[in-house]
């Protein structure tokens, strides 16, 4: 087995990978930017090396420096986590060229799936259904796109071939508005990815986003670990994931067909290691290949909760050259798991990112609750990186038990210093569409409102009024004690026993 692994990432995922290494008896190397000197991954690792300034492109995106550090400290392998260098074929190739094992698929598999248009053509050739669009047509000029559009039919979506994170995407309702939307999509794709190439895809309305976790070894064994339902999204960013998908709950044959197609898509690019096949599923239960993420997924713990597997440990084992530890028929799914991404975003203020120092954090615990985080009291949420504070995953024997448990855990979770989207999750757990599992990818943006859904929650107007009054009174007394008339005793002592800080 590997003796030492360098983790080319930060935050909760770096901590997650260090944990797997610890349990496997592998030494860990952290790399960090100036902003992350005190971060948990730096403190948990056996060794830690500074990469450079806080900006990602001067630190976590410096593949050359990372490989240099890995060689100097004699690491055997590099785990890229997700984001940053995880889906850069050139980085994977550079690792291999330097004699380091890249814990992920081969560079050629990353490249094949990285260009979304090529990926669609590749899997379509292997017999996998894709959302109808311009697959197999290569890069098209504006006039060609306009000519092709009516064949696909409206509404359709313009997407960037190098896309991700919703950048360079435009919904098109008719031909008239299309030329302008092509221009703006190209501009955005060019500035985000340095590649203005775009393709067209039919817009599947009322669709759900359901993905399958793939695990493959270097001997051609490919299995799937079931699905994750990821339709609770805002601006193409996932907020809640769950497994099993409530949509597939009563349709085992559809699940099996999708799983088989996911395996087929992975085989089409000679895939090894962990990966995720994303599908769109329409109201009539037709499913289409969307794309493949050739890396560990943020929401992987949902699958770990229902299968009992450690996906990161399995990644390391197959990267070392072992066979998969399970056969498809050995995989058993038990209960239901839900993941809420806790972001430093204010749901009462247009989900604006909130940065600042976390002064207190009290994560929930108890049965069936898992928190993956890289933050602690004193941590500075900086504008340099993504707003993910933690992932909270709960498991229950049934979906309804998981929802009740999630509500309980969300209420226990206290974070002071930055605004978080915990109230969003609390509100979501009370909405009828979520409870009944009848939601699609447009739910958050088109139907959900913090105000409407909050109607279902019990009102505590009186307690809120009382709490605010007592706090206001305490602060006024506090002020008058400092600035007030000396010698004159306040008529009323504080109702507050202040706990001394720094104890």
């Amino acid at each position: 087995m590997f003796k030492k692994i360098l983790i080319a990432n930060r935050g909760e995922i770096a901590v997650r990978i260090i944990r797997a290494c610890r349990e496997l008896g592998i030494k860990t190397v952290a790399v960090y930017s100036e902003a992350d000197r005190q971060a948990l991954h730096v403190r948990y690792a056996d060794e830690a090396y500074l990469l450079g300034p806080s900006l990602a492109r001067e630190s976590y995106l410096r593949g050359d420096k990372i490989i240099d550090i890995a060689r100097k400290c004699v690491a055997d392998a590099i785990h890229p986590g997700y984001g940053f260098l995880a889906e850069r074929a050139d980085f994977a190739a550079a690792c291999t060229d330097s004699g380091l094992v890249f814990i992920g698929p081969k560079a050629s598999s990353i490249a094949a799936m990285g260009d979304k248009a090529v990926a669609r053509a590749t899997v379509a050739k292997a017999g996998v259904t894709v959302v109808p669009g311009t697959e197999g047509e290569g890069s098209l000029r504006d006039d060609e796109l306009l000519a092709f559009a009516p064949k696909i039919g409206f509404p359709l979506i313009i997407k960037a071939v190098s896309g991700g994170g919703g950048k360079g995407m435009r919904d098109v309702r008719n031909l008239d508005e299309m030329p302008d939307l092509i221009q703006s999509a190209r501009r955005e794709a060019e500035s985000s990815f340095g590649d203005g190439n775009i393709y067209l895809e039919k817009l599947v309305e009322g669709a759900r986003h359901i993905e399958f976790q793939i695990m493959a070894d270097k001997f051609g064994n490919v299995i799937h670990l079931g699905e994750r339902e990821c339709s609770i999204q805002r601006r193409h960013q996932k907020l809640i994931e769950e497994s099993p998908s409530p949509f597939l709950a009563d349709d085992e044959s559809l699940r099996q067909r999708m799983g088989a197609v996911a395996v087929q898509a992975a085989r089409a690019v000679d895939y090894a290691n962990a990966g995720t096949i994303e599908f769109l599923v329409d109201k009539d239960r037709n499913f289409y290949f969307l794309e493949m993420n050739t890396r560990l997924q943020v929401e992987h713990p949902v699958t770990e909760a229902v299968t009992g597997m450690d996906i990161v440990a399995e990644q390391i084992r197959v990267a070392f050259g072992w066979q998969l530890s399970h056969k498809q028929e050995d995989i058993r799914w038990r209960g239901a798991a839900i993941d809420c991404r806790i972001n430093a975003e204010d749901p009462y203020n247009g989900f604006l990112p909130s940065s600042g120092r976390i002064t207190l954090t009290r994560p929930p615990a108890g049965p069936g609750v898992r928190i993956d985080t890289g933050v602690y009291a004193g941590f500075e949420v900086s504008p340099y990186y993504d707003p993910l504070i933690s992932k909270m995953i709960v498991w229950g024997e049934t979906r309804s038990q998981a929802i009740v448990r999630m509500r309980r855990a969300l209420e226990e979770y206290k974070i002071v210093g930055v605004r978080t989207n915990i109230p969003f999750h609390q509100t979501m757990m009370d909405t009828y569409p979520f409870i009944t599992g009848k939601y699609d990818t447009r739910f958050v943006e088109e139907q959900f409102s913090m105000l409407d859904a909050a109607e279902n929650r019990e009102l505590y107007l009186d307690i809120a009024a009382l709490l605010a009054t007592l706090v206001a009174h305490e602060q006024m007394e506090h002020r008058s004690q400092i600035y007030g008339q000396s010698g004159q005793k306040p008529t009323w002592k504080w109702a507050v026993r202040r706990t001394k800080p720094n104890l």
């Binding site: 009462y348 605010a468 009054t469 009323w492």
Partner: protein, 172 residues
């Protein structure tokens, strides 16, 4: 000390009796409040019922986050309340009011123009936020000066939308 707390249009009179007792409306309650680790997270026990919530001061009100809901609470002590009520509607001539966006949103209609005379309660701006249309009204009669928002424009929270100067004749 007596306070009036207003939340969602409802008024709650609170009288602080001593360290652990308050009069809340007609009831006398035993209360115990403590800040958790010196942070703006408070544990409150009221007659044996335990609550935990965040309390943050805002520009003019207090924001309370309690059991998954956010509340905006306005607090006045009795003296302030008296001052305000004797002042209500009786805008001092020339007094200027700045209308700020209470939340981020889209100004879907601005039915006034600069220099226009408006009545008390007249709609100045309709702000759409979280799919709700909020009618922002004139607190007293006056003249719109410095209109800084256009219909169709997105606004940030607390962004100044317009200024209103109270009319000389304005009594109500």
């Amino acid at each position: 000390m007596k306070y009036i707390a207003e939340v969602d249009g409802l008024e709650f009179p609170v009288e602080i009796l001593d360290e652990h007792h308050i009069r809340f409306g007609k009831e006398t309650l035993e209360v115990d409040l403590t800040a958790v680790s010196g942070q703006p997270l408070y544990s409150l026990i009221v007659n044996g019922e335990s609550f935990e919530g965040y309390v943050y001061p805002d520009e003019r009100s207090w924001q309370v986050l309690l059991l998954g809901r956010s509340y905006s609470v306005n607090i006045e002590d009795e003296r302030e309340k008296r001052l305000r009520t004797s002042d209500a509607g009786l805008a001092c001539p020339g007094r200027e009011f700045t209308l700020k966006a209470p939340m981020p949103g889209l100004a879907i209609a601005v039915p006034v123009t600069e220099g226009q005379q408006v009545e008390k309660g007249q709609i100045l701006v309709i702000l759409e936020s979280m799919k709700m249309q909020n009618e922002l009204r004139a607190p007293y009669a006056g003249t719109v000066v410095r209109l800084r928002v256009k219909s169709g424009e997105s606004v940030q929270q607390k962004q100044t939308l317009l200024n209103l100067v109270a009319s000389i004749s304005s009594t109500h």
